[in-house]
Amino acid sequence: MHSPLEQFEIHRLIHLNLGGFDASFTNSSLFMLIVSVLVTIMLTAPMRRAGLVPSRWQSVAEMLYEFVASMLSDNAGKGSARYFPFVFTLFMFILGCNLMGLVPFTFTVTSHIIVTFAFAAIINIGVTVIGIAKHGPRWFKLFVPSGVPIPLLVILVPIEIISYLTRPMSLSVRLFANMMAGHTILKVFGGFAVMLGLFGVLPWLFIIAFTALEFLVAVLQAYVFAILTCIYLNDALHVNH
């Protein structure tokens, strides 16, 4: 009997040992590579013969660009345009990984907490460094909301600091839990569909409906990750709590 969690196992495809450090090329790395190549091709190929009246794929690339650009400028304000390449790459990679996981027999890269935590940790450290580099010691005013009496500040500042430090945790676990739970449910109902024989039609119909929901969740989680990155960037660039 196979477990529904077997789909998340990492298999080494090319064994590589760098001085005691296991740097093998795994199925996770393979799908990250596939997603990167596909996203790059999808965004650059239609722009080779870019016309004023866009072709279909050029339209798609332009819509994605404009979507992320407007999201960044709406949420992070002035001075945020220099971070657009990062936010756009982040959004397209997470979107690509989430959607690739819905193709049968693929591996969902973002269903591992280490991947999403790496994203969230880099974003949090980066935003902190940007904030301190830009504002210096005034950056610590982020933890001190304005218009609060002193006795309340003694309790409020530690709470604000702890809530700032848990932001990468919540950012990473949100994406990880959505991806893992969705794929686990699909596998469990797949097991039901096989076990029930003729009545397996009912779990099969549920899987069809749930896969539609998973498409929405994949796109939505990529959007939420990107927009929260823009909001955290706003906190770093404009410290006025």
Binding site: L5, S170, V173, R174, F176, A177, N178, M180, A181, L220, Q221, Y223, V224, I227
Partner: protein, 75 residues
Amino acid sequence: MEPEAAKLIGAGLASIALIGAGVGIGIIFGNFLQGALRNPSAADGQFARALLGFALCEATGLFGLVMAFIILFAF
């Protein structure tokens, strides 16, 4: 009590957190629909924000589910 039994009971208890997710999502979309029926022309502009609220609310419920999985498989 055997550890296996304790794990199963713990995972079941941790999944109760999903009640909060259900209630929260219902509140978000209920209020969105209420506002949309009063001002339909402004509804489409705010739908993105409703989806953002839905994702953030779902996240807290899924934190509970992750705790259930940790209890079930990581101990």
